[in-house]
Amino acid sequence: MPAQQRRSGAARQMLLAFASLIALVIGFSLASPNFFQVSNIMAILQATSVNGVLAVGVTLIIITGGIDLSIGTLMTFCAVMTGVVLTWAGMPLILGVLTAIGTGAACGLVSGMFVARMKIPPFIATLGMMLMLKGLSLIVTGTKPIYFNDTPGFTQIAQGSVVGALIPGLPLPNGVLILFLVAAVTAWILGRTVLGRYTFALGSNEEAVRLSGVNTDAWKMAIYALAGGIVGIGGLLISSRLNSAQPALGLGYELEAIAAVVIGGTSLAGGRGTILGTLIGALIMSVLTNGLRVLSVAPEWQTVVTGAIIIVAVYADQLRRRKASQG
């Protein structure tokens, strides 16, 4: 049965995509007995949550053939605005959540407008946004962190564990749950909805889409706004983890998120990519960082080894795919 064969082939394919990740996990488990333990696995997942959410957001933009350098500082700006609403204005928690997502979506829309309407290359448009948002976060907060001590339950957003309450012994932090939720919804949007279809189509051949009578500008702006909203969730997660909005944070997070996306097999040229791949990419990065730390590798060697393993992991993936496309 060709359909079934295709399906099982896809499953094998998917499993193989995990190969680098699994190899890393096995390697570290053998090297240190402290690595493969529930608490450490939870720590790794928790460490993935913020970067993972950012990476999921930027995956959308990269699939359109764009790039977003502003996600790191946008995350911070969303956290800051949440702090303003919750701590300074004393609003209820739910409004804080909406502020984070709304701020992200609004800023994403602005980036999208720069790119789609004003035809500014995404690299420049989002570089400008990155700088503006970085400055704005410092201006709004007066360069001091905003703490969420007056909002009970705020730290529960990322640090609590709904799963742990239901299944004792599996203290999965809510932050990770939210990451999986965001990833699942985004994957659904990409795979099943018009928005997702246009995301791929824009990255594949924008001019052909425009000449099909699609209002490409509007769709592109929608995609940037959606990505911004997801980054807003990232801002919520990080401020919940730190119980504060740190205005100087954020620079450099964009590179890490983009790296996770590319390690996950999404092409910077646009047109192809998966959320699952991005998740795996983000996990590879966290496992690597955590594992090397657990092994107490000297920090300067950690960077060297991380660099080398990233290259090897992507190379292995490359070989696997080349074989798959031939066989």
Binding site: P2, I189, R192, T193, V194, L195, R197, Y198, F200, A201, S204, N205, E207, A208, V209, R210, L211, S212, G213, V214, N215, G271, R272, S325, Q326, G327
Partner: protein, 501 residues
């Protein structure tokens, strides 16, 4: 005459496709050997094996009687095998001369390029081809037809002993084709062996010595061109006889006007064009290369909105600033450049067919009804006999002609009232072409208004109820269907200065 090239038992598989099954083919020095077959028969694949792009899974290739290995394009070039690829393989950011001599730049000391000689050599080739072309023009600014000229010039520059031409004339019009044939005859006289692929049947008679027909990845047979009736070749290709139906011009005096243009102007390419089109009418557009037909179509469609003039659809004036406006007004446009303007090559057949009509298959949550889409796209795959393993195959893996059919399917599915087809049968085989002609006639019968731009006069004559002729951006006249080729050519060459006379 000895065999220059002999390919024996060539086999090639792609995932899900057995593209070549033990194909035999040979070429002698000083002959033009036409390779024919339906879309997806395996012609391009066979030629890619011969030019070192693909490695065959089985069989062998002999040059001058000796078995050779062709691990890469360079090896083939070194053996004197040159190829014009079906899909243009140009560097769009480089200029014409740079494209022609890429990899073989004349050098001065220090790795410098002798730019003057590069340009002079390129200019010399074009002079030999009798084509006016500025070697310094950037390729991205050229129309498809002129890009094709660059590809031909590049292939000629190799002075190969074996020259493969994979649909070189798909984008050319009659006078350019005539020039190309002069070149081919000259090369043949010099002893070059030429493999010639085309879907234009009339060319076979004019240029080919022998014809090999392929079907479904296998050779059907090789015949002498001069002795074999075209009908027989077609029968070998498609496995049945085709009958040409002459155009029946319907009486449209009562039909309402679907589209009217008044004084449409855009730059120098489109100047003051006015005409009207009735429901149920097929209006053909003839003209020489660069006459501005494509520009006119793009202006109507809003791809590059007109600077002045009025567009009236179904009696109501509409403003069209973008293709989205045009499609909303019920106008569809099939571009002549499928690769750049028609297809999302990395996406599958189904997604491409649905690209212009997604809204119709989407619920309020934005979910796409994949099941419905699968049914619809399979219907079009059957209707246009698109050769693809399944509707989830990436379009870039289809043969050129099948890609073209996917674009056609996209616009058929969109179901516009007014359809503009720019070179709709480019690269499409005879059988499918007849199919598409029938389809266009049917669409007109259903009351749609259709504009067909084609560089093939016979096609226009077979299809059009009226024929509009353009020259240098102006509409020089509209002739009734079935007008003589002479009258069309007269209008197509009536320049502005002459018009004043």
């Amino acid at each position: 005459m000895s065999d220059l090239v002999r390919m024996q038992g060539i086999d090639k598989r792609f995932p899900g496709v057995h593209a070549l099954r033990a194909v035999d083919f040979d070429l002698r020095a000083g002959e033009v050997h036409a390779l024919m077959g339906e879309n997806g028969a395996g012609k391009s694949t066979l030629m890619k094996c011969l030019s070192g792009v693909y490695q065959p899974d089985g069989g062998r290739i002999l040059i001058d009687g000796a078995a050779v290995a062709l691990p890469n394009p360079r090896a083939a070039q070194d053996l004197g095998i040159g190829i014009i690829h079906q899909e243009l393989a140009l560097m769009r950011d480089l200029n014409v001369a740079q494209n022609i001599w890429i990899g073989r730049e004349p050098r001065l000391s220090l790795g410098r390029i002798d730019e003057a000689r590069l340009n002079a050599d390129a200019a010399a080739i074009f002079r030999g081809m009798n084509v006016a072309m500025d070697p310094r023009a950037p390729v991205a600014a050229l129309t498809i037809a002129r890009q094709q000229m660059v590809e031909i010039a590049k292939a000629l520059s190799f002075r190969s002993r074996v020259l493969i031409m994979d649909e070189p004339t798909a984008a050319l019009n009659d006078s350019e084709i005539a020039e190309l044939f002069t070149i081919i005859r000259r090369l043949r006289a010099e002893g070059v062996g030429i493999i010639y692929i085309s879907h234009k049947m009339d060319e076979i008679r004019r240029i080919a010595d022998r014809v090999t027909v392929m079907r479904d990845g296998a050779t059907v047979g090789t015949v002498q061109a001069a002795e074999t009736p075209i009908a027989q070749i077609i029968a070998m290709m498609v496995g049945r006889e085709l009958v040409d139906e002459p155009v029946a011009i319907p009486d449209l005096s009562a039909a309402e006007c679907a589209l009217e243009l008044r004084g449409i102007t855009r730059g120098r390419e489109v100047r003051d064009v006015s005409f009207s089109l009735k429901r149920g009418e097929i209006l053909g557009f003839a003209g020489l290369m660069g006459a501005g037909r494509t520009e006119l179509a793009r202006a109507i469609f809003g791809a590059e909105p007109p600077e002045s003039g009025e567009i009236i659809v179904h009696g109501r004036p509409v403003t069209i600033r973008s293709p989205a406006d045009a499609v909303r007004a019920g106008i569809g446009y099939l571009s002549e450049d499928r690769k750049h303007y028609g297809l999302a090559l990395g996406m599958d057949v189904r997604a491409n067919i649905a690209l212009a009509s997604l809204a119709r298959y989407t619920d309020r949550l934005g979910r796409i009804d994949e099941q419905e889409l699968a049914a619809v796209s399979n219907r079009y795959i059957d209707m246009l006999s698109i050769r693809t393993p399944h509707d989830r195959q990436e379009v870039r893996l289809l043969s050129g002609g099948n890609q073209q059919k996917v674009v056609i399917a996209k616009w058929l599915l969109r179901d516009c009232d007014i359809l503009i087809f720019d070179e709709p049968t480019r690269g499409i085989d005879v059988g499918a072409k007849a199919e598409i002609h029938r389809l266009l006639a049917d669409l007109a019968g259903q009351g749609k208004a259709i504009i067909v731009i084609s560089s093939e006069l016979p096609e226009l004559l077979r299809l059009s109820h009226r024929i509009a002729v353009m020259c240098e951006g102006r509409l020089t006249g509209i002739l009734p269907g079935g007008a003589s080729q002479e009258r069309i050519m007269a209008l197509a060459t009536r320049r502005e200065g002459m018009a004043a006379e």
